[in-house]
């Protein structure tokens, strides 16, 4: 389900649409509410819920964090034997998505909510993992969708935290050395807050939800994620269309007709190019 807001109430904000944006636009605000309802449902079901306040000063967020955060703070593979706890293994279940709103007041800035066990309580465990990043900023638009999606997968930016991502899924491992230093989901949340606010400066407020309770809980979140992803895809497409590029019509042109499989190869070359861009 998604909500369509008509002219005069762009993104349900009561604000006029940003220049160049359609007056009829869908938005995530409803999903922010649904995420909160999800948390309350689980609270009602007796799940353990903890909340941390990381504060709202981006300059001070990293103070006291047990691990380094920043470009290349981590590199390489954390093998299973070196892992203190694993999150979101495909066998355990995983779900991750970002939500954005142009109403920062909807977001409890700096809040990290954890439903379920934390890293330090989970030595040797492979936990299901849900991660929802909710951000607010009055200047945010569909153009930021892709950046938000990519930023949620913080590869190589947190010491002792290895992440492998697929669309909508996070599979991560916390190394023994990071856990021994005290790395936990609060620290992960603070690191995410810092990275998002640094990479997407339009983000004025941000909160994070982590779920580690059960595959069924993560699955519930995943059902919501499917609708969120569909909306996100439309945002990305709208952003491309606004630049005069139709991703549905675009195709790679090539001259070589000597091999029947050449078109497929060219498509793969495009994947190589996209991958290089992601790795930058």
């Amino acid at each position: 389900m998604s909500s369509a807001i008509t002219a005069g109430a762009w993104s349900g904000t009561g604000l006029p649409p940003p220049p160049g944006k359609s007056a009829v636009m869908e938005n995530y605000d409803l999903y922010v509410e649904r995420v909160r309802a999800f948390v309350e449902d689980l609270r009602g079901s007796g799940r353990r819920i903890r909340q941390f306040d990381a504060g709202d000063d981006p300059q001070r967020l990293l103070e006291g964090l047990p691990v380094r955060v920043g470009q290349r703070a981590h590199s390489g593979l954390i093998l299973r034997r070196e892992t203190f706890a694993e999150l979101g293994n495909p066998d355990a279940g995983s779900c991750a998505f970002p939500l954005w709103t142009r109403r920062p007041s909807l977001i409890d800035d700096g809040r990290i909510t954890l439903i379920g066990a934390d890293i330090q309580e989970s030595e040797g465990a492979s936990l299901p993992f849900g991660q929802v990043v909710m951000v607010g900023g009055k200047d945010l638009s569909g153009e930021d969708q892709l950046a938000l999606e990519q930023t949620q997968f913080v590869a190589d930016q947190i010491e002792g935290y290895m992440i492998r991502s697929a669309p909508g899924r996070v599979w991560s491992r916390v190394s023994r050395s990071a856990a021994n230093k005290g790395f936990d989901l609060r620290a992960l949340g603070v690191a995410l807050l810092t990275i998002f606010k640094s990479k997407v400066p339009k983000v004025e407020a941000m909160e994070i939800l982590f779920v580690t309770t059960a595959r069924s809980d993560v699955h519930q979140l995943d059902e919501m994620a499917e609708q969120v992803r569909a909306l996100g895809t439309r945002f990305v497409k709208q952003a491309w269309l606004a630049k005069g590029f139709d991703p549905d019509e675009c195709s790679v042109t090539h001259d070589c007709a000597s091999c029947a499989e050449k078109p497929g190869c060219d498509d793969v070359r495009e994947i190589v190019k996209l991958r290089k861009e992601i790795k930058k």
């Binding site: 093998l79 675009c250 497929g264 190869c265 498509d267 070359r269 994947i271």
Partner: protein, 269 residues
Amino acid sequence: MSEMPESGAKVSRLVAVCGKGGVGKTAFTAMTSKVLMQTDRAGRLLLIDADPALGLPLALGTEVKRTMGEVREEIIATARRGEQEEKSRLAEQLDYMVLEALTELDGFALLAMGRTETKGCYCPVNSLLRGTIETLAESFDTILIDGEAGLEQINRQVMRGLDLLLVVSDATARGIRTAATVEKMVRREKVIQCERVGLVFNRVNGNEDLLRRSAEEIGLEVFGFVPQDEEIARHDLLGKPLTQLPSGSPGLSAVREIVETRILDEGGA
């Protein structure tokens, strides 16, 4: 079996095993793996089964859930569908797919290439996957590849260069001829970049001097002789992993010497 060290000294060794079909490459690779697992000097160990027959997991007593061949098929299928969004997603999740294909056990990690069903060479797919495997390999200290008879497949799908190529032959003229062909491919045709090449005779039952002379004739240095070993034959017959061979097995002892003198002592960049 020792646990994999958290991080060995960053000395990467890239070793591949090749040779004629049926000479015991996989058994030799499995025994080499066992020896490497038993020493701290090997560091983090990655085994790559580049033979589509997938014999190495069996010889190691493990199973693989997903092969790189399956990853390759998924890439090709996505490319054929041609949806821009799907291609973007695939580019993002390649490392995820490779981690799914990585089998991790106490002493080693194993990547099985498997076979591919799609016709066509798909060079860009090979290039894409090879790049991903090379990146993965950077996290390991010793990489041991069980290859096919030839080297093209290693070059195309796994690695562009090796530190050491171990050519395995049995004590037959056919095995030695294949070894000669491999030598030609490496030294003259430069099918793959390779620092060192050595010949290992497997299932040897005497005639070492004759075999050594044959090796000289084809320009290959003999790195060792692995004797005919009934214990290995029994393990193979019963389907028991070769990693369970008793440490006193004559075959394993010969492999240990090759590993210590030719891989660990001389290896490293």
